[in-house]
């Protein structure tokens, strides 16, 4: 009887799964039990109460109001925002550099293609952490002191404390103009979409599209600025004591991480772009050329749209890698989520499990959200076969 059940593959599958579940449960229970005993023995408290306790340590860069008396919950938000900041900066610049290098690798100019190839092969084969260290310790920390800053037109400054840029300061009228610009941008996007639909339906574009767009984007803010009697002045950084005051300050930690992430990820993006462009069959280019399109238009209207279908999925993967790699910030002390929360906060509270679980949950949420969007996009652009 038992032997017959054993020989029935359906029963065997059930048995195997029951076994697996019980094994996992047993193992999980064993871990939980050990952890609870260990925590008790070491006198570490559990739960998320620590999030409302006062943190008591400073953070060198924060996008929101933060001081030492605020809670560990605030350190979590500050760290998360810093992670998002460096990721966003990295993604934008890595995309630009990566696309440039990817196209350059396929250039008809031999020298340009070789330079791009050397760039890709050098930077993607060196560990990112090493590149971060190189920028931080070998490049940015040998810059001159604030008093001997390198400066451009006396408004941009570069020294060992980082980069200092002038910051635009608007009054109330100026803010209205900024909002007018946002409105104009939204309207322009709407116009472009409308144009696309019109072209699809009738084959004719909207008249004066470029002129209307430019007029909206430049005219509307300028007119509102003038009407609202706004004013704008630049807060230029200036030497005060041993450092600079005013303006936008980019810390060397941020710069090093940003450069390294950009250069490293761009090398991978270049490869993604190159293989995407190469995946478009030669016949497409030849057909477009035979129809009389110029090389630039062949690229923009025929090759790139088809290549994007191949490029976007691995490109999103690179973006996710960049976000995850930004956690290397902790090695040079840039206050990102891992450094501030899984580092300092963990050391102060000792609540390893809660802190690491929260940190992992953040990255996991980002990853899963992006891959969900990716799947939606893939369904959207998938070739509809008749």
């Amino acid at each position: 009887m038992l032997l017959r059940l054993w020989r029935d593959s359906a029963w065997r599958a059930v048995l195997f799964q029951v076994l697996l579940i019980s094994l996992v449960l047993l193992f999980g229970g064993w871990i939980v039990d050990n952890t609870l005993t260990n925590l008790e023995n070491r006198g570490i408290s559990t739960g998320f109460d620590f999030l409302s306790q006062s943190a008591g340590f400073g953070i060198i860069q924060s996008l929101i109001e933060y001081n030492e008396s605020l809670s560990f919950g605030h350190t979590f938000v500050v760290g998360l925002l810093n992670t998002l900041l460096v990721s966003a900066l990295g993604i934008v610049f890595a995309t630009l550099l990566g696309f440039g290098m990817g196209v350059a690798r396929l250039s008809s100019n031999w020298l340009l293609a070789k330079v791009a190839a050397v760039y890709v092969e050098v930077f993607r084969n060196i560990p990112l952490l090493l590149q971060i260290f190189f920028w931080y310790f070998a490049v940015l920390s040998v810059l001159p002191s604030p008093r001997q800053s390198l400066s451009l037109f006396d408004i941009f400054f570069l020294n060992i404390r980082g980069v200092f840029l002038p910051e635009p300061v608007f009054d109330a009228g100026g803010m209205i103009a900024v909002w007018a610009f946002v409105v104009a941008a939204v309207l322009t996007v709407g116009l472009v979409l409308l144009n696309k639909r019109q072209r699809k339906n009738t084959g004719r574009p909207l008249p004066f599209l470029k002129a209307t767009g430019a007029l909206l984007l430049i005219g509307l803010p300028v007119v509102t600025f003038w009407l609202a009697n706004g004013s704008l002045h630049w807060d230029v950084p200036h030497l005060k004591g041993f450092g600079f005051k005013g303006g936008i300050e980019l810390l060397p930690e941020l710069l090093a991480l940003w450069f390294a992430l950009t250069v490293y990820t761009a090398a991978f993006i270049a490869e993604v772009v190159r293989s995407g462009i190469e995946s478009v069959s030669k016949g497409q280019k030849e057909a477009a050329a035979a129809l009389g399109l110029r090389p630039g238009r062949v690229m923009n209207l025929v090759v790139i749209p088809q290549a994007m279908r191949v490029i976007i999925p691995p490109l999103t993967n690179q973006y996710l890698n960049l976000i995850k790699n930004s956690s290397l910030a902790t090695a040079i002390g840039y206050p990102d989520l891992v450094s501030v929360f899984a580092g300092t906060t963990l050391n102060q509270t000792g609540q390893a499990i809660e802190v690491i679980a929260m940190t992992m949950a953040v990255y996991l949420t980002i990853s899963l959200t992006v891959s969900m969007l990716m799947n939606m996009y893939n369904r959207w652009v998938a070739l509809v076969e008749r």
Binding site: N125, I126, L130, F137, L364
Partner: protein, 361 residues
């Protein structure tokens, strides 16, 4: 309508030769002329001073950074510390044991990678089973009359290679199992494997290493103490096996269904059909992907610096803090980068050549 005969065009002046090549590839359009000139100027401004710094003015031997000049590279630092960069704090009188490990690694790689060497099957068994065991015994000692060497004293290139090799050896079989599990028809197994894979692929390696170094000791009874190197290895294997699983799954998906059906009709069980028919084809198909995962693993070993292990990068980093060798950070990083680069570039070339060979068939 054209009435007159059009004059025959004169033949192009140059179609072959060096000049024609230069004209066709560097100066074929106005933009390309400009680009070529700009790049040529950039290279001209960059490369001679670099060679001057790195070779001509460089100082190769010395006792401290005082022996070096400002105009040239201070390779004396790398030279003086080379043993430490390779062996870490391994007792100098025992470094021959590390050399045995290096030689074994080189033999296995050559055996498996060079097509002309026969007996790949034995090479595989040696590389996957015999070599790891003998290497571990020789490195850690305590057996066969070898003095035990604590993993605290391990460091440098040796730790990088140990982490990469054992990480690879463990993550490959686990990855294969996970890939099979994710394609299994049993819902519990499938869910379990999918969750495991997506969980580790969704988080940065650093958090996994933090977890392995901070949380792992909490998970086991206090009597069991893992040393740091083992903990880092566990973290890396958990992480890398998830990536490996996805690579192998790609191969499994590419195998036509007919193969599995043929096995079924021959009456082969699940494991028999997988091990003898499906997996050999699938794994062979994704060897380039496996090599790429391995390159990522190799670069990622440098992250163990953050949990306080001394791999190649962190031992160079530690050396830079020595007051005797102040101001040599560029040289140190270039050396470490060169070592990592040689390994990674070699592997990526190998993976590309495999891919090309496959496409030729």
């Amino acid at each position: 309508m054209q009435k007159e005969m059009i004059e025959a065009r004169t033949p192009p002046i140059m179609t072959v030769g060096a000049l024609a090549w230069i004209k066709g590839n560097l100066f074929n359009t106005a933009t390309n002329c400009l680009v070529t000139l700009v790049i040529a100027y950039g290279l001209f401004a960059l490369i001679p001073p670099l060679i001057q710094w790195a070779f001509i003015e460089a100082v190769w031997t010395g006792e401290s950074s005082a022996d070096c000049t400002a105009d040239g590279a201070c390779w004396a630092f790398v030279n003086a510390r080379l043993d430490q960069f390779i062996y870490g704090f391994y007792p100098p009188e025992h470094t021959w044991r590390v050399d045995i490990f290096f030689v074994q690694l080189a033999v296995v790689l050559a055996w498996l990678m060079i097509p002309a060497i026969p007996g790949k099957k034995y090479g595989l068994v040696y590389g996957l089973v015999a070599m790891p065991i003998t290497s571990w015994i020789v490195l850690s000692g305590g057996m066969l009359g070898l003095t035990p060497v604590d993993t605290h004293d391990w460091g440098g290139l040796m730790v990088t290679l140990v982490l990469a090799m054992y990480g690879m050896l463990a993550s490959l079989p686990i990855g294969v199992l996970l890939a099979l599990g994710r394609r299994s028809e049993m819902p519990v197994v499938r869910t379990f494997c999918t969750v495991y894979i997506e969980l580790w692929r969704g988080v940065p390696l650093i958090t996994v290493l933090f977890m392995a170094s901070v949380m792992l000791p909490l998970f086991v009874p206090e009597e069991i103490v893992f040393d740091k190197l083992i903990r880092a290895m566990i973290g890396m294997v958990m992480f890398q096996s998830a990536y490996m699983a996805e690579v192998v799954r790609g191969g499994l998906q590419a195998i036509p269904k007919g193969q599995q059906e043929a096995c079924d009709s021959l009456g082969m069980g699940y494991w028999k059909s997988m091990l003898l028919v499906v997996l050999p084809q699938a794994v062979r198909m994704v060897i380039p992907g496996i090599v790429n995962t391995f390159i990522a693993l190799f670069k990622d070993t440098s992250l163990v610096l953050i949990i306080g292990l001394f791999d190649l990068l962190s031992i160079v980093q530690a050396g830079l803090n020595d007051p005797v060798w102040l101001g040599t950070s560029t040289e140190g990083y270039i050396f470490a980068a060169l070592v990592f680069w040689i390994f990674c570039f070699g592997m990526s070339r190998y993976s590309q050549s495999l891919e090309n060979k496959r496409q030729e068939h």
